[in-house]
């Protein structure tokens, strides 16, 4: 029985679509470059490829001169042969193994062990089964969101471990054991009024103030391990060393940020390695969609039909975009001018919207802080009190939901190609979300430092606004805590009041309404931006509230289960697929941006602002950074000189220049490599033409 492969490509020249005479394919099939692709089992012999007992088949790209050494380094599992041949190879390898030296045996054993460890680690991943189910029903695009969520949970748990281990737990231990603590940083020159700070003194309060306190971090929650103000500025002496609490606090906060940075960068590089970007990625969209577009993991059901539809939609969109580009290139100068002026006007409108949103956040924060200080909590009702306390969060959330809708409408008027449209909207939304947080912080800063004016009335005595914020770090921590809690509350409310009713309406309601609303689609980009926003809030607040990473980790775990629930009950797969791995890299990039933004308030508070004198582990110090200098002074002379040198400008400027030179060198290298690649491609094309020519000549002569 002749296998099917041999029934094609018969003798006689065939004409291909370009009308050229192609030489008979049977000659092509005998070329060495084709013989490297072996078929399995007996069929391989028919191709004329050597597969006798004495000749081990090589890896697909046969390189000359690399015989047995190369063979051993490619594990058996990765060879494209059928099982019988692999078994033969294995037996041969085992026979050879007896003759190996001990060093080589140890090497092989280590490699084997490492392979097993890696396999075991893959199985030990958290939530593997859930991610599997999500991938099967909704595809890899939505699974990438849950992957990102899992990464954030691990990041927060690691950070929480660091903070709890070095700040919270020792403090609790010292108090519990009632160890002797030596007070530090006593400054007798400070005004008595600056030291007044007693949040728990209240008198008679109504019952709901406890609920308000829980939700806004005031009252009984303020002077606890949760906030900065609770920690003392002292050191505990043990035999041989002393545990300096402010130093531990500062170093663990800085260490937490550094660990987060390293972990994210490591993961981003790992993801980037998987997508080998040799040239511009735009050049292969069609071939990637055709060959790597179908998700083989899809389980039977509606997911497959959705995938067919989405692939068809995507290919159509790409073709349309191409015709649009052609039309765009043919526009007259008059049309172009009109389009540019339209785009300029719309951009101004976008900036106007952003400005309005930021102003709203600024005023809301100002009002909320002032209202909270002016009236005692018991005078307002519970709802009104909560409303005032959460006003900044409410305004930020409203802006984050409504303004992107306006962006989506405006960007369609600008008539960009589709891919650019998506990216532009995403960029604008990212900018909105992260900047609104900065505006909130800026608003707090103006209140704390009286608009940056140290000579203003309220700021003269204690260097910050003592009446409003006796302990300003705790106030900032409270604001971040409120943002976190509000985020969670909004999620629960949206789930209960919007998503589930919508699903009920669509399945059981009247048909026209169901068609109008449509089933909910799980959109990945807005959800990811929510996650990044929440993580940035957590980062900003960690310096002022050491337990925040732990709370955030708990919130993310709850979020995972809630999102999974809403995904399976309410949502259908997205029409437009979000490419999985390129977008995972994009998520991490946005996360890094959030981290960069979180560094700004941290560095400012550590280096510039004076800590409150009434509370916290840095009371009495001129800045937070001075504790580190004081600790360095106790080190031996050599270490001290070295650290002072490293911190000085004489070291930083040459280092910066060196890094710039390195960067320029790498850019030049990259440019020369891409030139080389272009040249090689041209040569390859010429070789292909040579091959066709030669084969034609051979067949004509023979």
């Amino acid at each position: 029985m002749e296998p099917r492969w041999a029934q094609t490509g018969r003798d006689g020249a065939d004409d291909d679509d370009w009308g050229q005479q192609q030489p008979p394919s049977s000659l092509f099939l005998q070329l060495p470059s084709n013989a490297t692709l072996r078929f399995r089992g007996n069929v391989a012999k028919a191709w004329g490829a050597a597969l006798d007992e004495g000749e081990p088949p090589g890896a697909p790209q046969e390189r000359d001169g690399e015989g047995a050494r190369e063979q051993e380094s490619v594990p058996l599992k990765q060879l494209p042969l059928c099982m019988a041949e692999k078994r033969i190879l294995r037996l041969r390898e085992q026979r050879v193994a007896w003759k190996r030296s001990r060093w080589e045996q140890w090497q092989v054993g280590m490699r084997h062990l490492w392979g097993q460890v890696r396999g075991a680690l893959l199985y030990a991943q958290v939530w593997r089964g859930s991610l599997h189910r999500i991938e099967g029903h909704f595809g890899t695009g939505i699974q990438s969101y849950f992957n990102f969520l899992r990464f954030l949970v691990l990041l927060n748990l690691g950070g929480a471990l660091l903070m709890v281990g070095f700040v919270v737990a020792p403090n609790a231990a010292f108090e519990g054991l009632q160890l002797n603590q030596t007070q530090q940083g006593q400054n007798s020159m400070v005004n008595r009024s600056c030291l007044q700070y007693d949040p728990t003194e209240r008198g008679l309060v109504s019952y709901f103030t406890y609920l308000m306190d829980l939700l806004s971090g005031t009252g009984f929650m303020e002077l606890t391990h949760l906030f900065y103000g609770y920690y003392p500025n002292s050191a505990v002496d043990f035999v041989g060393f002393s545990y300096n609490i402010p130093l531990a606090y500062l170093l663990s906060v800085l260490g937490y940020f550094s660990v987060c940075l390293l972990w994210i960068v490591h993961r981003a590089v790992h993801l980037l390695k998987r997508s080998l970007v040799g040239e511009n990625g735009e050049l292969s969209t069609y071939s990637h969609k055709v060959f790597a577009g179908w998700d083989f993991c899809l389980a039977p059901g509606t997911a497959a039909a959705m995938k067919h539809n989405s692939l068809r939609y995507e290919l159509r969109m790409d073709l349309e975009e191409q015709t649009l580009r052609r039309v765009m290139a043919q526009r007259s100068p008059g049309q172009r001018l009109a389009l540019f002026s339209l785009r300029g006007a719309l951009n101004l409108l976008v900036l106007g919207l952003l400005g309005a949103a930021f102003y709203g956040v600024y005023r809301a924060t100002e009002y909320s802080q002032r209202a909270q200080q002016d009236t005692s909590p018991g005078q307002q009702g519970l709802v009104l009190g909560l409303l005032v306390a959460y006003l900044p969060s409410i305004v930020i959330t409203a802006a984050n939901q409504l303004v992107p809708l306006a962006f989506g409408l405006l960007v369609r008027l600008e008539r960009y190609p589709l891919s650019l449209e998506i990216r532009l909207t995403l960029l604008r939304t990212v900018f909105l979300r992260l900047s609104s947080l900065l505006v909130l912080l800026f608003s707090l800063w103006t209140q704390i430092t009286c608009h940056g004016d140290p000579a203003a009335d309220s700021c003269r005595i204690c260097h910050h606004n003592h009446q409003q914020h006796p302990c300003w770090e705790t106030s900032v921590g409270q604001e971040m805590y409120k943002l976190l809690v509000f985020d969670l509350l909004v999620l629960l409310l949206v789930l209960l009041l919007v998503e589930f009713p919508r699903k009920l309406l669509v399945t059981h309601g009247p048909a026209p309404l169901a068609r109008l609303l449509g089933q909910q689609e799980f959109l990945v980009p807005p959800n990811v931006l929510d996650l990044v926003y929440g993580q940035t809030v957590c980062w900003v607040g960690t310096a002022f509230s050491p337990l925040l990473p732990l709370l955030h980790a708990a919130k993310l775990i709850l979020l995972f289960y809630l999102k999974k629930l809403t995904l399976f009950s309410n949502c259908r797969p997205a029409d437009r697929t979000f490419r999985a791995s390129s977008s995972s890299f994009f998520f991490l990039l946005v996360l890094l941006l959030g981290l960069a933004i979180a560094w700004v308030p941290l560095l400012y508070s550590v280096f510039v602002l004076q800590p409150s004198q009434a509370c916290g582990p840095f009371r009495g110090e001129p800045t937070m950074w001075s504790t580190l200098w004081a600790a360095i002074d106790t080190l031996p002379l050599v270490a001290r000189e070295f650290l002072q040198f490293v911190g000085s400008l004489a070291f930083a400027v040459p280092l910066f220049l060196l890094l710039c030179i390195l960067m320029f060198y790498l850019m030049a290298l990259d440019h020369s490599y891409s030139c080389l690649v272009k040249e090689l491609k041209g040569q390859l094309r010429l070789e292909g033409q040579d091959k066709v020519f030669l084969v034609t000549q051979i067949t004509e002569l023979s």
């Binding site: 029985m1 296998p3 099917r4 492969w5 094609t8 679509d17 370009w18 470059s33 084709n34 490297t36 692709l37 078929f39 399995r40 089992g41 007996n42 069929v43 697909p60 058996l76 599992k77 990765q78 494209p80 059928c82 099982m83 692999k86 294995r90 893959l122 991938e135 890899t140 997508s275 080998l276 970007v277 292969s284 069609y286 071939s287 990637h288 055709v290 060959f291 790597a292 577009g293 179908w294 998700d295 083989f296 993991c297 389980a299 039977p300 497959a304 067919h308 692939l311 068809r312 290919l315 159509r316 490419r579 999985a580 791995s581 390129s582 390859l684 094309r685 292909g688 091959k691 066709v692």
Partner: protein, 187 residues
């Protein structure tokens, strides 16, 4: 594991572990799946290496493959006779290559075989048209299909012969960021 199983000898299981990306437990589970497709034909005792093959119609009805538009080609690419009849060895090999631990190079080789419908070792225009039709369930117009095929060949063909050889295909697929995650079946 410890408990006595009589399906394979220990030596066979070791060989499977070395030659595929599966553990012993998974090999036994795969045997269970293979057996339940045709309990009358597939023996429970594989210690003597019986020569049993399942026809293609049974295998493409597996839930993992049922919705896949390329299911016939996948099974044919892994069968020794090219017609889609899989022995247990081929069955295990197929899922091993499609598992998440198989490297990119190995998957690229088999992906090329799968998309090569007329098995002439090139992905020519007719292969591409068949691929597209299967992907979109023949709902694109003929003009759209021609346009897309032209675009694909333009993007990936390096030596200018109007069809994709394995080197072209591998070069193109190595730049596809989600090839590893989409060309993957969990069993």
């Amino acid at each position: 594991m410890g408990n006595k199983q009589t399906i394979f000898t220990d030596e066979q299981l070791d060989a499977y572990q070395d030659c595929t990306f599966f553990t012993r437990k998974e090999i036994l589970r795969l045997h269970g799946r293979y057996h339940e497709m045709a309990p009358n034909i597939v023996p429970m005792d594989y210690t003597k290496d019986p020569d049993v093959k399942l026809p293609i119609q049974l295998i493409i009805n597996m839930p993992e493959l049922k919705e896949n538009p390329f299911k016939e080609r996948i099974v044919e690419a892994f069968s020794e006779d090219g017609d889609g009849n899989l022995s247990f060895n081929d069955f295990v090999d197929m899922f091993s290559v499609l598992s998440e631990m198989a490297p990119r190079e190995l998957k690229a080789i088999y992906a090329f075989k799968i998309y090569d419908f007329n098995t002439d070792n090139f992905i020519c225009k007719s292969d591409l048209e068949k691929t597209l039709n299967k992907l979109t369930r023949e709902e694109l117009t003929a003009e759209e299909i021609t346009l897309v095929c032209e675009k694909v060949i333009e993007e990936a063909d390096m030596d200018g012969d109007g069809k994709l050889a394995f080197a072209d295909f591998e070069n193109m697929i190595s730049k596809a960021p989600d090839f590893l995650s989409t060309f993957h079946i969990r069993i």
